[in-house]
């Protein structure tokens, strides 16, 4: 069994019209045993930039702490927040630094850049960026997430519809995956507001 599947996870991000949404499941497991159902995999970097870290939970936490540290240093030096593209390069560099002993995480980065242009991207565990215009997925439920997103996604959705779409895509995907699910966490970011939501799901 792969170390990426040790804790179980599902992370997805989608782009709408001047907005984006990022969602994850809430399970923390140790292989087939569920330890907790309120685990957080999506983290805030600043008001318009979020990162979801699928894969090994301990590395997700370590990586998040290092990223927050680096972003704070950047804020002090530059007196501004990082652009999503810049941040993606930072994550990529941090991951590639550990090329031969990697963090076992697959990040999903989502943010609003200049002129509130949405940006989403994913990476493998050694920092190879993969940019997308529509949606990105990662985690043990990634195969089913691809299927769900592929059939549910439409370009230029308004925030309300985007929220519904990403929630349904996440929910239907994790129900086909034994290692993720147990509720979901959805973040909807528009230029003016951020909506955080815990969604209920099957608890089996």
């Amino acid at each position: 069994m792969s170390i990426f599947e040790y804790n179980g996870s599902a992370v997805v991000a989608m782009v709408g019209k001047n907005c984006f949404a990022i969602a994850s499941d809430r399970r923390l497991g140790v292989q087939l045993q569920t330890v907790a159902t309120d685990f957080q995999r999506v983290f805030k970097i600043h008001d318009k930039l979020y990162i979801g870290l699928s894969g090994l939970a301990t590395d997700a936490q370590t990586l998040y702490q290092r990223l927050v540290f680096r972003h704070k240093l950047y804020q002090l030096r530059e007196e501004r927040d990082m652009k999503p593209q810049t941040f993606a390069s930072l994550v990529s560099a941090l991951l590639y630094e550990k090329r031969f002993g990697p963090y076992f995480c697959q990040p999903v980065i989502a943010g609003l850049g200049e002129d509130n242009e949405p940006f989403i991207c994913t990476m493998d565990c050694i920092g190879a960026k993969e940019l997308a215009k529509d949606f990105v997925v990662s985690g043990t439920a990634s195969e089913s997430l691809y299927g769900a997103c592929e059939s549910m996604y439409k370009p230029n959705m308004e925030p309300e519809e985007l929220f519904e779409t990403i929630s349904q895509a996440l929910q239907s995907s994790v129900d086909r995956d034994c290692l993720s699910g147990w509720g979901g966490f959805v973040l909807l970011v528009t230029p003016t507001e951020v909506k955080e939501c815990v969604i209920k799901g099957r608890m089996d």
Partner: protein
């Protein structure tokens, strides 16, 4: 085999563990205390490689003391948990400590709390948790019977039910257990559960109450 259990109640936390020191098929002793009192208001229940367990829990304990001497203020439970995780995480990619930790503590501002930290440094704040072979029985039992507003007696009763289930169903069940609690009065030993000669009650009347 090793069992560590933790529960948070209304304004206290309970940590229980077996007291067997086992190596391969041999039981060396049955009064090994695996729940360390870190400072006046913190408990650390640990399982794993015996050498690592003793070394690591002592290391955390002494560092807490050092912090308290230097700053005249104890580290909060959350801070201790994060420190513990940090140590395990840095060790993880050098030479890892094989120790799983349940950290319980009481702070005057946030009340009682319990943290799950495993040997690969996965960190999570929980209400109830368990490590080892015992966890296969205890987690389901606690899911069924746990309530966040439990009194000390109710929580210890829940732990007793877990111990009973372990003794009944686990082939390699340890003989004795220790139960410690932490609340605003401090961290202390609450009780020990020694194995009595009569075999654990078969799953008849008790199982019916659990099911109901």
């Amino acid at each position: 085999m090793e069992c560590v259990i933790g529960v948070v109640g209304r304004d206290f936390a309970v940590v229980a563990a077996d007291t067997s020191a086992v190596q391969s098929i041999l039981v060396h002793k049955t009064d090994e205390d695996k729940v360390m009192v870190l400072d006046s208001h913190k408990l650390m229940g640990a399982s794993g490689e015996p050498g690592d367990r003793v070394q690591f829990t002592e290391f955390i304990q002494k560092n807490l003391h050092l912090y308290q001497f230097r700053n005249n203020i104890p580290l909060s439970t959350a801070a201790t948990a994060n420190f513990t995780r940090g140590e395990l995480a840095t060790a993880l990619r050098k030479n890892p400590y094989y120790v799983n930790v349940l950290l319980a503590g009481y702070d005057s501002d946030v009340g009682a709390s319990l943290y799950y930290i495993d040997y690969i440094a996965t960190f999570h704040k929980i209400e109830k948790g368990a490590f080892g072979y015992g966890s296969y029985f205890c987690l389901s039992l606690m899911d069924k019977l746990y309530r966040p507003d439990m009194s000390v007696e109710e929580a210890v009763d829940l732990v007793d039910k877990c111990i009973k289930e372990i003794r009944l169903r686990l082939v390699v069940a340890p003989q004795n257990f220790i139960i410690k609690i932490v609340d605003k009065e401090g961290a202390r030993e609450y009780a020990r559960r020694a194995y009595t000669d009569s075999p654990p009650e078969a799953a008849t009347s008790e199982a019916a109450t659990v099911a109901a």
